[in-house]
């Protein structure tokens, strides 16, 4: 395909913005339109469960770029109007308000929606944390609450639990894994995280699923576990993962299975690309389809797709990376921590909670996890990068 004269980016969050910035930086001078379902200018999501929720930041501080920087992009922002349909052949997007937006190249960056529990929508006092509005609403309710139950033992649930303790709430964390963040950290580092939360006063109810919400007069009053135990709550946060926002692509002809399915260039169809949480592309280094819900991937994939739109024709094979901030700990992973991997502490000291651990599967380095040692962790990144990014670029 020849180089496009216009690009429509569907999704005005980190991935969409990164794609736009990279297109301009690489000299693209055609028309760029960013379509956003929310009314806000692009904002950053990691602070929502931490600085915005705690009140340390006013919501405005989460905005990704100052307005003059956005204006300099010379892109049209169409906000508060979610995409409602795509015609892949003509590359036309229809919006909820009935706009028709057409472009030579379309970038799908619609992210994920928070998964919810049955009946959650009808109850007051139950929250998800995906959008800025979600975080602001929850922040107001936490200020008037005493008992918080967090349903979900992944990154978001653990961060919300930590923020809740910081606000002085009585916090219980419930989830099906044996330790928090087990799927990201593995059982050993997840166990350290569980101990850390317990020391900070979080009640851990792990290893059991949640069977439902308990309510009184239209307001949540607790969470029922599969064991039958009931956890009383004034407010409940449901952090049980995200669902790729692909419902608007029904009938488009694109393959959507746990995300927009893409090739190793992040291309879903001729002239149609996907970026960020919504994209499930073939990672050559892992030789498997991969969908990453993390902040770093959104920007890096945006950069890769911008290059490919402009003809680079290069596979996207990043070293996955994410971090989390809980209490005074900053924990990060370069690569992945596969099930059954063996951990070796290669720097620092676990007892003082300042260390770097390398994870190997069958003797091959697959991930490096750092706890309060960001720079030293990055310095070990090369060991996993060599495995994950074969000479494909």
């Amino acid at each position: 395909m020849s180089l496009p004269a216009s690009v429509l980016v569907v999704g005005a969050s980190a991935g969409g913005l990164s794609t736009t910035e990279a297109l301009r930086r690489k000299g693209f001078d055609g028309r760029i339109t960013l379509l956003g379902g929310e009314r806000h200018l692009p904002y950053d999501r990691p602070p929502l469960s931490k600085q915005v929720l705690s009140g340390a930041w006013e919501p405005d501080r989460a905005q990704l770029r100052p307005e003059p920087v956005l204006q300099a992009l010379d892109a049209e922002f169409v906000l508060g109007d979610p995409a409602a349909g795509l015609d892949a052949a003509s590359r036309t997007v229809r919006t909820a308000s009935g706009r028709l937006l057409e472009a030579d190249a379309i970038v799908i960056a619609t992210g994920v929606r928070a998964r919810t529990l049955p009946g959650q929508g009808e109850l007051a006092g139950v929250h998800t944390v995906r959008t800025l509005d979600d975080a602001v609403a929850l922040r107001a309710e936490l200020a008037a609450s005493r008992r918080l139950v967090v349903v979900g033992d992944g990154v978001l649930g653990a961060e919300v639990a930590a923020t809740g303790r910081g606000l002085g709430l009585d916090v219980t964390l419930a989830g099906p894994q044996s330790v928090p963040m087990e799927s990201q950290f593995g059982p050993w580092a997840g166990g350290l995280l569980g101990e850390f939360h317990a020391e900070h006063g979080v009640g851990l109810r792990l290893g059991t699923g949640v069977s439902g919400l308990v309510a009184e007069s239209g307001r949540v009053s607790g969470v029922r576990l599969e064991t039958g135990q009931e956890l009383p709550a004034d407010v409940v946060v449901v952090a049980i993962g995200g669902v790729p926002a692909t419902d608007w692509l029904a009938g488009s002809g694109l393959t959507c299975e746990n995300g927009v399915v893409c090739d190793d260039r992040c291309r879903a169809a001729d002239g149609i690309w996907a970026v960020g949480d919504v994209a499930r592309w073939h990672h050559r280094g892992l030789d498997a389809p991969l969908r990453l819900e993390n902040r770093t991937n959104a920007t890096q994939q945006g950069l890769a797709v911008a290059s490919n739109i402009l003809g680079a024709d290069a596979p996207y094979s990043p070293v996955p990376y994410f971090w989390t901030d809980q209490y005074d700990a900053k924990v990060m992973v370069h690569g992945v921590v596969p099930a059954g991997a063996e951990a070796e502490v290669v720097d620092g000291d676990v007892a003082s909670r300042r260390f770097v651990a390398l994870f190997r599967s069958h003797g091959v380095a697959r991930g490096v996890l750092g706890w309060n040692m960001p720079k030293q962790t990055r310095l070990h990144r090369r060991e996993v990068a060599d495995v994950l990014t074969p000479a494909t670029v």
């Binding site: 910035e21 920087v69 950069l303 971090w323 960001p374």
Partner: protein, 65 residues
């Protein structure tokens, strides 16, 4: 070009150091960004713009002269 960093926003990922190691480093103790050159030379500008764009905490601001 004038570069500024927001240490309070910095998440310590080190992405900027991977992209522009002559302009950015990280503190040994907590990984927070260290700006080595707030007015980098022209041959660094592309890398610095990319570092600002890919920073996962939007902690780098570039003002073009």
């Amino acid at each position: 070009m004038k570069v500024t960093v927001d240490e309070d926003k910095c998440c310590g990922a080190g992405t900027c150091v991977l992209v522009a190691p002559d302009v950015f480093d990280q503190r040994d103790e907590d990984g927070i960004v260290m700006l080595l050159d707030e007015a980098p030379a022209a041959d660094q500008h592309d890398a610095v713009r990319e570092a600002a764009s890919v920073c996962p905490a939007a902690a780098i601001l570039v003002a073009e002269a």
